[in-house]
């Protein structure tokens, strides 16, 4: 509903803008020029660092260490990528990151829906108590050490589950999903009941199909969070077999020479070259950048749904 109204208003505002271009004073023109310039500048400083990474990653070593803006690549070599994919570490990193993202997201969305759907029923027994139970952790948490001890005591230390299980649910996502489901008219369910539909028919034929937008949005949120998560892997895993991409990045980009972990990435001089650093970044953020243009609207829609109070 609210989104629909928003769309209508966007259309209205477009119409307004067209009729609005009558005449502009000099001050307004200067403002326009400055505004457009500022926007272009902003876009440049947002994109340039990523572009530089691309350029450096495909440049020959000499060219990569040249000082100055690197907008047009001079020379082309895939040596850095070749070296990168020779390393077993990247293989582990990709495998673990993909595993945690896929399994974690699938489990999260299912569990989030299973928690949100009952809470969307206004006369569910114990609804208030249950809502309180899931809201309290938003305000009060155990903190780092109790979390860490829990993972240890559960025997999850240095397993992939340590990265998946603690992230399964988020109160915010549950509430956003609950609010969305609450906006589905109850009369739909009631008429299905009258027609003799049972619980599962209603669930799979009505509620889930209608909840698709919010399921997609939550899935995207969780997936990006998993892909980018670094700190949990940093504290809950130790062995190279459990390494995730972000952890490799951290060791390559921030800690630089962590010999134990990155020896396979080091070149002849015993240091990780700039080109390999850049190639690691590209390999790690590549999938996000690749899907981003297509999924952007779902992310944005999600923010809007979340901001609708319920």
């Amino acid at each position: 509903m609210v989104i629909m109204q928003g769309v209508k208003k966007v259309k209205a505002s477009k119409a307004r803008k067209k009729s609005n271009v009558i005449k502009r004073s000099i001050g307004e023109r200067i403002f326009d020029v400055l505004n457009y310039t500022f926007m272009v500048f902003l876009a440049f400083i947002m994109l340039y660092p990523f572009w530089e990474m691309v350029v450096v990653s495909i440049s020959p070593a000499v060219e990569a260490s040249r000082i100055g803006l690197k907008i047009i690549p001079r020379g082309f070599t895939l040596e850095a990528y070749r070296q990168l994919f020779k390393s077993k570490l990247i293989g582990y990193g990709y495998y673990n990151t993909i595993m945690r993202t896929v399994i974690g997201t699938a489990m999260s969305v299912v569990l989030c829906f299973m928690t949100a759907y009952p809470l969307a029923k206004r006369d569910l027994p114990f609804r208030g108590i249950i809502t309180t139970i899931i809201v309290i952790p938003m305000f009060f948490t155990g903190g780092l050490v109790p979390d860490f001890l829990l993972i240890n005591d559960l025997g999850l230390y240095d397993t992939l589950w340590a990265l998946i299980l603690p992230m399964l649910l988020s109160t915010y996502n549950i509430l956003v999903m609950r609010n969305f489901i609450m906006s589905i008219p109850e009369s739909l369910e009631e008429s299905a009941l009258v027609d003799g539909a049972n619980f599962f028919t209603i669930l799979f034929r009505i509620i889930i199909p209608l909840s698709k937008p919010i399921l997609a949005t939550v899935a995207l949120w969780v997936a990006v969070k998993h892909w980018n998560a670094w700190f949990d892997a940093h504290i809950y895993t130790r062995s190279n077999k459990r390494v995730v991409l972000q952890l490799i990045l951290r060791r390559v980009l921030i800690d630089h020479n962590n010999a134990e972990v990155t020896d396979t990435l080091q070149g002849d001089e015993g240091v990780i070259t700039k080109t390999v650093e850049a190639a690691t970044v590209i390999v790690a953020i590549g999938p996000i950048i690749a899907v981003y243009p297509f999924l952007q609207k779902y992310f944005v829609k999600g923010v809007m749904v979340g901001s609708v109070k319920g």
Binding site: N35, I67, L69, L150, N228, W230
Partner: protein, 324 residues
């Protein structure tokens, strides 16, 4: 807001549906009716119990001398020993102020950035151009702090960084920016703005979209200039949203942005950049001082709660609804 509202709705709906049935009978009836849904809730509640409430119990180690072999329950009580240590430690005082100061800087500098950006973006008439700018500026939000910090390390590098390259034209530098305590907080703020200015503007752009176009039309007919319209229509119209967002940010002031700072700082800038999140991590998981670290986290949590309740109170006073 959610709880109260839904609570009252619940009681009124059930009262209408089942007049004359006792409360217990009504509850039983609803339990039977929603049996499937209640079963559906169990896994989620078990998850909350294990992953949220067990660690909450774990907070007790802040009042104990935690021994690894004895576990949480078996370790001896220590009273407020760790808190006394905390308040007598000059390092803790320093870290606490860093957290607060960086939080305040964020409110002053980082908070208005997306608001201004949204207003400026709204003045762009070229729809295609506007969409492109939006897409580009949302992008950094989806990149992890590890990568962003890596980019910052590269850009600010004293050897071959772009910033030093540009400064050299003015006869300045080279500077080791990340080693300079006097500008470290600035780097935190600017990098935070860079990453989230676009994403943060979405909610304000939505608010601007919601403004009645007739207001602008009427103003145009009355001969108002664009600046007049920005200051007399756009800004006042989105002000309620801005205030709520601001208060939410105040409520989260103690959250120091661990991922950001941990990937940017180094021992040379601990003096200005170390915050409670990073400090409790080093104390707890590097030095293995579990009880002390938990005491730090608990203190941070409680101060955060105080801020949250104050802001919620103010929000309730200024608008009809609170933050929750």
């Amino acid at each position: 807001m959610k709880k109260n509202q839904s609570g009252s709705v619940t009681s009124s709906v059930s009262a209408i549906k089942k007049p004359g049935v006792s409360k217990a009978g009504d509850l039983l009836f609803r339990c039977k009716r929603y049996k499937g849904l209640l079963i559906m809730l169990i896994p989620g509640l078990v998850w909350y119990l294990i992953f949220k409430y067990v660690p909450m119990y774990g907070v007790t180690i802040a009042f104990k001398d935690y021994k690894l072999l004895k576990g949480i329950m078996g370790s001896p009580w220590a009273g407020f020993k760790h808190f006394e240590r905390l308040f007598n430690s000059s390092q803790f005082t320093n870290v606490f102020w860093n957290t607060l100061i960086i939080g305040i800087y964020r409110l002053i500098f980082s908070f208005p950035a997306p608001v201004i950006f949204a207003i400026l973006l709204n003045e762009i008439r070229h729809e295609r151009f506007k969409k492109t700018i939006q897409s580009i500026t949302y992008l950094p939000h989806f990149i992890s702090w590890v990568v962003v910090a890596g980019i910052i390390h590269t850009v600010l590098s004293p050897v071959d960084g772009v910033v030093n390259y540009i400064l050299q034209f003015f006869g300045l530098g080279p500077y080791k920016f990340l080693m300079m305590p006097e500008i470290f907080r600035g780097i935190i703020i600017v990098s935070g703005i860079w990453k989230d200015i676009g994403w943060g503007s979405i909610v304000y752009l939505a608010a601007i979209t919601g403004i009645d176009p007739q207001l602008y039309e009427a103003a145009t007919i009355d001969g108002a200039s664009r600046f007049r319209k920005i200051f007399s229509i756009t800004i006042p119209s989105i002000l309620p949203v801005v205030i709520v967002m601001f208060l939410m940010k105040v409520g989260n002031i103690m959250e120091g942005g661990r991922d950001q700072i941990m990937n940017l700082y180094n021992p040379i800038v601990y003096r200005v950049g170390d915050v409670l999140d990073t400090y409790s991590y080093r104390v707890g998981l590097i030095d293995f001082d579990y009880s002390y670290s938990t005491a730090i986290s608990l203190f941070q949590n409680v101060v955060g709660l105080v801020f949250l309740f104050i802001t919620n109170f103010i929000t309730k006073r200024t608008s009809d609804e609170g933050l929750w």
